[in-house]
């Protein structure tokens, strides 16, 4: 395996407490719309950190930037002290071997079985013989409670099971950093509780650092050590432990945590005055 330390662009020493550091990042998919507007966040080693915020506030984009899918417009992202350079393919691929990502809907390969999906990263990145691959895959599937489903096709499993298979695939290579993109979206209460429990348990047993992107406040607060709240303008508006955020008096934090339909985040999309739209004159 390529040593990331030899090829990464180093601008500082690894921080003993922080695995991922995001500093003053600005990003937009095109010049007309800024998604992330000068955001700075840091993620402690071995911790579960949640990024909360409404739909479209840039949470998933932030994960993609950490994974180097897009280059940032301004600012820096460091993983273990090394700047993520999305234009350096060799560095990115070395970096991504240390990451595991759970996509919103699993992103499982539909032409492969459950077993082969979990075996995929092992077969691509290691020279392990098939008996060893089999043992590791069954261990990972056992960790997510799906050893018995190893030989099912992806079309034969439910959405909740698919998320767990994707989790088993994400941890196949024992990554240092696990990123979860909306792991609770579309799950029934039991599957949601299973997913939340797995995220916490896997984090504690593997010693990995977890970044959890979600808008499900209650589930996130049950399992995370620290949380950031992002606004629809792509800014971090609050941060703290779940308890600190729960006790916050900030109207924006309170509206989001309590799920109030109106408040600093308006119910109505910006529009012309009602009278003008309906042609009513005073």
């Amino acid at each position: 395996m390529t040593d990331i330390h030899q090829i990464a662009e180093t601008t500082g020493h690894p921080n003993a407490d922080l695995l991922v550091e995001i500093e003053h990042v600005v990003f937009g998919y095109d010049a007309s719309r800024t998604i992330l507007n000068d955001v700075s966040l840091s993620f402690g080693r071995g911790k579960v950190t949640a990024i909360l915020g409404g739909s479209g506030c840039g949470k998933t984009t932030l994960l993609r930037l950490i994974g180097g899918v897009h280059p940032v417009d301004r600012g820096t992202i460091r993983i273990d002290g090394k700047v993520v350079n999305a234009r350096n393919a060799a560095q990115l691929f070395a970096l991504r071997r240390r990451l595991g990502m759970l996509f919103q809907f699993g992103a499982l390969f539909t032409d492969l079985s459950v077993f082969d999906n979990v075996a995929f990263p092992l077969r691509e990145h290691t020279d392990l013989d098939e008996s060893m691959v089999r043992d590791i895959v069954l261990m990972k599937l056992n960790a997510v409670g799906l050893r018995g489903a190893a030989y099912l096709r992806i079309s034969e499993i439910s959405g909740g099971m698919a998320r767990r298979v994707a989790l088993a695939r994400a941890i196949a290579l024992d990554p240092e950093l696990l990123m979860y993109d909306e792991p609770f979206a579309g799950l029934d209460p039991i599957s949601m509780a299973i997913a939340a429990n797995l995220i916490r348990t896997l984090n504690d047993t593997t010693g990995a650092t977890s970044i959890l992107v979600s808008h499900d406040v209650q589930q996130c607060f049950k399992i995370c050590d620290y949380a950031y709240l992002m606004s629809s303008q792509g800014k971090v508006v609050a941060e703290g432990t779940p308890r600190q955020l729960n006790e916050s008096e900030d109207p924006q934090v309170r509206q989001f945590i309590r799920g109030e339909p109106d408040g600093p985040v308006r119910f109505h999309y910006p529009a012309k005055p009602l009278a003008e739209d309906f042609g009513v004159t005073a």
């Binding site: 899918v69 691929f93 991504r96 990451l99 990502m101 919103q104 992103a107 390969f109 691509e124 990145h125």
Partner: protein, 260 residues
């Protein structure tokens, strides 16, 4: 006037951007081929998926074309007392033109659309993004094996199409109409040049396989990640690949058969 110049400028820039994008994609695809060749089992699996599974439509169409060609040619030739040339004309028509062209058009419809839909849906389901995040290059793991399989499968299918077409023509001409069997085969043997006729037909089919597979993969990879985007991508694959095949056929025919 300023508006016209501005419009022309915008269109020109847009065309250049599209061409540049295609060229970049092609370079990336070709650069990924050596990595795909190092794991030939993926290429073989794709040859099975897009080559073997096209066999039925190719064999059925080839036979039907052979039947019709023999009938039509016989009616035309018998008027001039040249019915004995039937075998030669059928063979030249199939190996030089109909084999490569019709096979490529069928290939675009059968395998091309399937490739576009598959890649487009993989993109829509974030499978390609997931692969990328697992430090696996989708270009060499997914696209290049399909590209190589398409380029390899096309000439084999075209040869098969021409072969069953000739057999179909034999059935109609010899068994049904009563053309002399020995004459049917011997004039073919003496009038068909392996390098000039069959060889050029194979070269054509390799070029058409390249066009079809490249267009199908590009349209799938660049399709918008929505059901409409994938639907538009598959339609564009058939239209662009078919037009590309027909235009390239004219160019290749002019180059290959410019002298009698």
């Amino acid at each position: 006037m300023t508006g016209l110049v501005s419009w022309l400028g915008q269109r020109t820039l847009e065309i250049l951007r599209i061409l540049g994008h295609h060229a970049t994609f092609l370079v990336e695809l070709i650069r990924a081929c050596p990595a795909a060749l190092r794991r030939p089992y993926f290429v073989v699996a794709q040859i099975h998926a897009i080559g073997n599974l096209s066999l039925i439509i190719i064999v059925a169409s080839g036979t039907a074309v052979g039947f019709v060609l023999a009938l039509q040619m016989y009616y035309a030739l018998v008027t001039y007392g040249a019915a004995e040339s039937l075998g030669l004309i059928v063979n030249l028509s199939l190996t030089r033109e109909l084999g490569p062209v019709v096979t490529a058009l069928l290939f675009a419809g059968r395998a091309g659309t399937s490739l576009t839909a598959e890649i487009g849906l993989m993109k829509a389901g974030e499978q390609l993004a997931a692969m990328d995040m697992m430090a696996v290059d989708p270009m060499s793991r997914v696209l290049a094996p399909r590209f190589l399989a398409g380029v390899v499968s096309m000439p084999i299918l075209a040869i098969l199409f021409s072969s069953v077409g000739i057999l179909g023509a034999y059935v109609v001409a010899v068994l049904l109409i009563g053309v002399d069997s020995g004459n049917f085969w011997s004039i073919m043997q003496s009038g068909v040049d392996v390098r000039r006729d069959i060889g050029n037909g194979i070269i054509k089919s390799i070029v058409f396989g390249f066009i079809c597979t490249f267009v199908a993969l590009y349209q799938g990879y660049e399709a918008e990640a929505t059901p409409e985007g994938v639907a538009h991508g598959t339609t564009r694959t058939v239209v662009i690949a078919s037009l590309g095949i027909l235009m390239m056929d004219f160019v290749l025919t002019a180059l290959m058969f410019s002298t009698p």
